[in-house]
């Protein structure tokens, strides 16, 4: 007997002739994401991907508890819908009973309150002498006899024992839901504007879930923002990279640019002007690093810079599409995703981000296009963009 991970593919299986390229990308992403879990065999059969250790003594596969980290990692790979940790073995019905028994023992030791169960069975190997309903009946009876405190419940049981008869037999309990989506690398690359807040990591996560690999750009304004704020963004990028894979984080030294804007641009227009300069720099960096779009965490009406007029004003200065996956979402929904991907606790750390110090008391929320142009009249925008791109530090971020 050995233990394996069964990962189910989702949207990828709906692809037509190009399905193969999506599957290859998915397996490559799994291979990268799971490399710290030892020497693994990752192969596909129909709409499933099987992951098993090449060496028998791989500690990540010793039992369900030991497999928690690797299961979490598989769930973070876009393209996977759900995963199960299964016992793989050969043999007749007795061997199925034996494995189902040890699995039930494990589940009861972890969850002493469990009282009800059901059996679900699939028989791919038609040579197996029992059909699925018979397997369910017989195995259910065996479990009832072996564990007299348990009863069968068809709707919402405490646990399910799944049996699959294929080339080998598999026994497992339930499945862990993953993040679905498409394998990262199947779409073009995007440049994420990453601040230290809640929204932008979620925006990055959402675009990565559509197969988009990411670069990220952060505007750092030391000494107005501390190195702790920078570290917070690096930490957030790392969290996003668990889903998006390796990314380059470009840290723009924004201090002098911000001070120039502060001195030479009207206070109430500063937010819009600053956004416009940031997007221009981001677009230049995007071009340089082969990205085809910009991604922001904007949500309509959330703050002064996120009104429709402000967004029109920022859209005007770049040619690349600006993707705003959160545009129609409310804050609560964004926070839920942020919690779900493990970014929330980092996002709410208190360090200032570069937007807050230079914000006017009453920024223009509905800037008129002519005012926007007027506000930039005394700025050497070209020089600012050049200066921003030149003063950029790039850090490679990996999920490990």
């Amino acid at each position: 007997m050995s233990n394996v991970i069964l990962a189910r593919m989702g949207e990828v299986t709906l692809k037509g002739l190009n399905r193969g390229s999506f599957e290859i990308q998915l397996k490559s992403n799994l291979k990268y994401r799971l490399k710290r879990f030892g020497n693994l065999r990752i192969f596909q059969s129909q709409s499933r991907i099987w992951i098993e250790p090449k060496e028998e003594d791989n500690p990540n596969f010793s039992d369900e508890a030991a497999a928690k980290d690797i299961l979490d990692a598989v769930c973070q790979v876009f393209g996977i819908v759900s995963v199960s940790f299964a016992r793989k073995f050969e043999g007749d019905f007795d061997s199925i009973c034996e494995n189902a028994k040890s699995l039930t023992e494990y589940l009861l030791s972890e969850n002493p309150d469990f009282k009800t169960f059901k059996i679900e069975s699939k028989r791919g190997n038609k040579a197996f002498p029992m059909d699925s309903p018979t397997i369910c009946d017989e195995l259910g009876g065996f479990i009832l006899d072996t564990f007299p405190n348990l009863t069968v419940k068809m709707k919402n049981p405490d646990f399910i024992i799944n049996v699959e008869i294929r080339e080998y037999n598999y026994v497992y309990s339930g499945k862990k839901m993953a993040h679905r989506g498409l394998p990262v690398g199947t779409a073009g690359r995007g440049m994420l504007l990453l601040s230290g807040g809640i929204d932008s990591p979620v925006a990055g996560f959402m675009m990565a879930s559509r197969g988009m690999p990411l670069d990220a750009v952060y505007f750092h304004s030391y000494p107005y923002t501390s190195d702790l704020a920078k570290q917070k963004v690096i930490d957030l990028a790392k969290i996003v990279s668990r889903f998006s894979g390796r990314m380059n984080l470009h840290i723009v030294n924004f201090t002098q640019i911000q001070l120039d804007m502060y001195k030479n641009s009207p206070q109430d227009m500063l937010t819009v002007t600053m956004r416009r300069v940031m997007l221009r720099i981001a677009e230049e960096l995007a071009r340089k690093h082969d990205c085809k779009c910009l991604i922001t965490g904007e949500s309509l009406g959330q703050v002064a810079s996120q009104t429709l007029e402000a967004m029109c004003a920022t859209n005007e200065v770049v040619k690349m599409p600006i993707l705003r996956p959160l545009i129609g979402m409310d804050k609560q929904a964004t926070c839920e995703i942020s919690r779900n991907i493990g970014a929330f606790e980092t996002s709410i750390l208190p360090y200032e981000d570069c937007c807050t110090i230079f914000v006017a008391k009453h920024p223009k929320t509905h800037p008129h296009p002519e005012d926007v142009i007027e506000a930039e009249k005394n700025l050497d925008i070209e020089d600012m963009v050049e200066q921003g791109v030149a003063g950029t530090e790039t850090i490679e971020i990996t999920p490990f």
């Binding site: 000494p223 107005y224 501390s226 702790l228 001070l259 502060y262 360090y351 200032e352 008391k361």
Partner: protein, 380 residues
Amino acid sequence: MIYFDNSATTFPSDRVRAVISDMMKDEYSGNPGSLHKLGVSADKAYGETQAKVAKLLGASSDEIIFTSCATEGANTAIRGFMSRNSRAGRRVISTRTEHKASLECLSLLEKSGYEVVYLPVGRDGKPDLSELEKALTEEKTALFCFTLVNNETGSILPLDQIVSMRNKLSPDTKIYLDAVQALGKMPIDLHKMNVDMCSFSGHKIHSVKGTGVLYVKNGVRIDPLILGGGQQKGMRSGTQSLLLAKAFEAALEEAVETMDDSHGNAAKINEYLRKELAERKAVILSPEDALPYVLNVSFEGFESETMLHCLEIYDIFVSTVSACSSKAKKVSYVLLESGVDRKTAANAVRLSFSRYNSMEEAEQFIQKVDVIYDLYAVRK
């Protein structure tokens, strides 16, 4: 580097480093509780250190407990006293400008049903003594809990007046004093000061982190915070560290030896900076009569943290509020409680000096402040 953050911590002095290096030798590494000769000699040396520290603090040897830090001292004293002396009363008198080590203990007492009276403090950081008198006449008070020198402003407690008020109106009330920022910077004679418990920290006087002392006056009974093998007469179990005790002793001895010169130096630096900064429209928040080692100043146009990072560019190190809580984005509660407005308090930076700082450093500091104003000022 200009290090003006000595109230947060100091660097170990050469003498302390030498003592520590010496104490790492095998011959000093025995357990003072062991019965063999290595243990006996360690125990003897420990006793000698205790006696020396006691003498330097104006106390008796058996009144000195070595701790890991002043926070442990505060917890042991405040919680230990109140739990041991249930018949002494249910009331504690303090202020809201104490260090968090004390305030959190008081908050715990409140949750356990004790009453804590927080005296209002004035702009000079001193508690309102007429309110103290009133509070003392209302109900039996078990404990006073005060700080001799405030860690954020340098404000000095009118201890003599408080002690005589206690002696006159409520002689059974005991006094716990946090003297962390006073140690080595003003004379400490515990018997003369007539307090009952007092905590000190080593790393504020050029010893190392992990060293502290709690004074508990003979006759005052407290429950220990740390139970175990009964070391230090059961008041603080855990194997005694001769090395740390010696490091504390060395730092204290040196601080006492250099106290007068050091005070004069700090006063000169303080006076110069007060004058120069006031000319630059910075608001001095430390009271005039504060201990000169601490200077709290609010820079217009700079949030506290921005000024901290601006100075950091030039290798000048200062604090915003108190270092223990500066990771939480908060305005100093000490300043707000002292009546400083929120905007001024939000721009406050604490400069704190040691005997190693010089007038040249103070002058360089002012030069850099001018540069920072030119380059980074954001006025709203």
